[in-house]
């Protein structure tokens, strides 16, 4: 009778422990993933890096480039304005800013670019319907560079746009994947190195 009582308690205890063991094992496998040798992260020195900028990535980037419009939705034929603002999380001296904003010229007509008065006159600026790009290149001749404070807003460019046909389309920063000459880049004074940034996509809905 005593033995039966012990078994009564022992069997459920064993069952609970077995279940707990299974849960621990499975959760471990899930957390770590079942990796193949090539999936494993390895230290890489001097490897090829195609992009010095990572749009959409926000952690650890010095600058955030924000595209915004006065409305999220436009009717065909309606006019609007797009602003490209830049804000940093550190004080920096800037030597150059090359900005390339991708758009679809069949959906939007873009014109009338304006720039922050703090920026020098662009060495080159153009709305390229050929490439579907709004281009502005600022080269700072001052030996000290252009000082930008942490948290300071800078209007890289704004431009007027007119909706041409119904569609949903995004304006976005070009990183040079389609054409290496069209890589948006911010270069630091002194080091002559690119400064990292993140950016957003501006999606606009055009209706009839």
């Amino acid at each position: 009778m005593n033995q039966n009582n012990i078994l009564k308690y022992l069997v459920p205890v064993v069952a609970v422990i077995v279940v707990a063991e299974s849960v621990v094992l499975i959760s471990r496998l899930r957390d770590k993933g079942i990796t193949t040798p090539t999936d494993r992260k390895v230290v890489e020195t001097g490897s090829v890096k195609n992009d010095t900028v990572k749009p959409g990535v926000t952690e650890n980037e010095v600058y955030q480039i924000n595209l915004s419009s006065d409305k999220a939705s436009y009717k065909v034929g309606e006019n609007g304005e797009v602003k490209v603002m830049m804000k940093g999380n550190a004080d920096k001296l800037i030597d150059s800013v090359n900005v390339y904003v991708k758009y679809d010229p069949t959906i939007f007509e873009v014109n009338d670019m304006t720039f922050d008065k703090k920026l020098p006159t662009p060495a080159f600026s153009k709305v390229s319907t050929l490439r579907g790009l709004v281009v502005a290149n600022f080269l700072v001749s001052d030996p000290e560079g252009l000082p930008l404070k942490s948290g300071e807003d800078l209007l890289l460019m704004s431009f007027k746009m007119k909706a041409l046909k119904p569609s949903t389309h995004s304006f976005e920063i070009s990183t040079g994947k389609e054409m290496k000459e069209s890589a948006t880049m911010i270069v630091e004074n002194g080091t002559s190195k690119p400064i990292t940034f993140s950016s957003n996509k501006l999606t606009i809905n055009v209706t009839e």
Binding site: N2, V13, I17, E21, P37, V43, T45, S96, M179
Partner: protein, 419 residues
């Protein structure tokens, strides 16, 4: 009573055993087939390599295996920057395997990874190598004999994420035979202008060279007698005739010819001849036999200098951007005396490509080039006549605002062409 005690002890033991099982299950367990049984470092030696144009630049690939792990196979990508070249037709001729380490060179192919040229190398120990003969520890696996083609600085890198290293696992019945690639270390290289040998006749030059009658310099023998002979004169934007730091020998060219039916040949390290020492525009003449290129009509010529963007020339006396596909240069012959001298001086090479994201020229004029030239111009560095500075765009031996202005103009002109 005795039975009761035994049962309690037995029950406690079971519980302890199961708790131990839970703890073991929570440990990292490696149960997969093909897992790593050891690690290895990879490195290129020496860490800094120098070579002259026209000569070989040899990079040695080493592995340093851990815990005495023995190497049996390698599949890796080695990438490089400008100024180096591997023969696209027979790249395996430029990879020399250390057969003490690996016997069989299975594959050598050239591939671009991103915008970088790379060579993929696959090598195996082979069936004839017994485990006892496999190498471990620091192993020189192979040498890559790059041809140094133009003046440049750059890096030779190993792509760890594309590399697989196989080894011999001595454990009985072991199926894990991969070595985990840990730290990889590349090398820096610097290619400088090769020695120029003055000559009066072919006998003054090496076996694979001839004496160029125009320059009285030994140049590599290029091609058969019926290959096309190309002559043109050209200029660099902003470089005057009296520029004292713009010697032709310091400005070797890359010349690419393309026929309208798609035949393309590229020639690097082409040294021109400067024909004037005064005037607003420095004139440089190029005379060269096009090795393996026999097309005489409707060709386009692409020219790039060591601090210039590549420019396409499609017509004689070209004075603006040639935006048409193909080319119209015609009437070329195989003879230096009869082939026409094309004039490209009215559309000089655009200057300003001096650096890029990897600290080497990238074929683009952008903010990086601007910042580099501006930084150098602030230093007001000067060199003696005949010297060379990468950022001295106008070749007047001193860094100044004019160099920055020339670069800015180049950027504006190039962007106008692109957009």
């Amino acid at each position: 009573m005795k039975n009761k005690s035994i049962n309690i002890i037995f029950g406690i033991l079971m519980v302890v055993a199961l708790i131990g099982g839970v703890m073991l299950a929570s440990q990292n367990q490696e149960t997969r087939r093909g897992a790593y049984f050891a690690g290895t470092k990879m490195l290129i030696m020496p860490e800094e390599i120098a070579a002259k144009t026209g000569k070989d630049l040899v990079a040695q690939l080493f592995l340093d295996t851990e815990n005495g792990a023995k190497l049996s196979a390698l599949d890796t990508f080695v990438c490089y920057d400008k100024g180096l070249e591997l023969n696209a037709d027979n790249p395996e001729n430029q990879v020399v395997l250390n057969t003490d380490a690996l016997k069989d060179l299975v594959d050598v192919t050239l591939e671009n990874v991103g915008d970088k040229p790379c060579v993929r190398i696959v090598a195996l120990a082979g069936a004839t190598m017994k485990p006892a003969n496999l190498k471990s520890g620091m192993i020189r696996v192979l040498n890559i004999k790059f041809k140094a083609t133009e003046v440049a600085d750059g890096n030779i890198t190993i792509l760890a994420d594309k590399t697989k290293v196989g080894g011999y696992n001595p454990a009985a019945g072991a199926t894990d035979n991969s070595l985990k690639v840990g730290t990889v270390t590349g090398a820096k290289y610097s290619v400088t202008i090769g020695d120029i040998v003055q000559c009066n006749s072919d006998s003054d030059c090496a076996d694979n060279e001839y004496c160029d009658s125009a320059t009285k310099q030994c140049k590599p023998t290029t091609g058969a007698a019926d290959d096309t002979y190309l002559k043109f004169k050209m200029a660099f934007y902003g470089v005057r005739g009296d520029a004292m730091c713009a010697d032709a020998a310091k400005l070797p060219l890359s010349v690419t010819v393309r026929s309208n039916d798609g035949v393309v040949k590229n020639y690097t390290g082409i040294v021109s001849t400067k024909t004037n020492t005064s005037g607003d525009v420095g004139i440089y003449e190029v005379k060269m036999r096009l090795n393996g290129f026999k097309v005489r009509n409707n060709i386009a010529v692409f020219v790039k200098g060591p601090k210039s963007l590549q420019v396409k020339y499609g017509v004689n006396n070209q004075s603006s951007y040639y935006s048409v596909a193909g080319g119209e240069l015609s009437g070329l012959t195989s003879e230096e005396s009869s082939t026409p001298m094309f004039d490209f001086t009215k559309y000089p090479l655009l200057s300003g490509d001096v650096t890029g994201p990897n600290n080497s020229q990238d074929g683009v004029v952008d903010g990086l080039d601007f910042s580099y030239i501006k930084t150098e111009s602030i230093k007001r560095t000067e060199v003696a006549s005949g010297g060379y500075m990468l950022a001295d765009i106008n070749g007047n031996c001193k860094m100044e605002s004019q160099d920055v202005a020339n670069m800015m103009l180049s950027l504006s002109v190039k962007q106008g062409q692109l957009y």
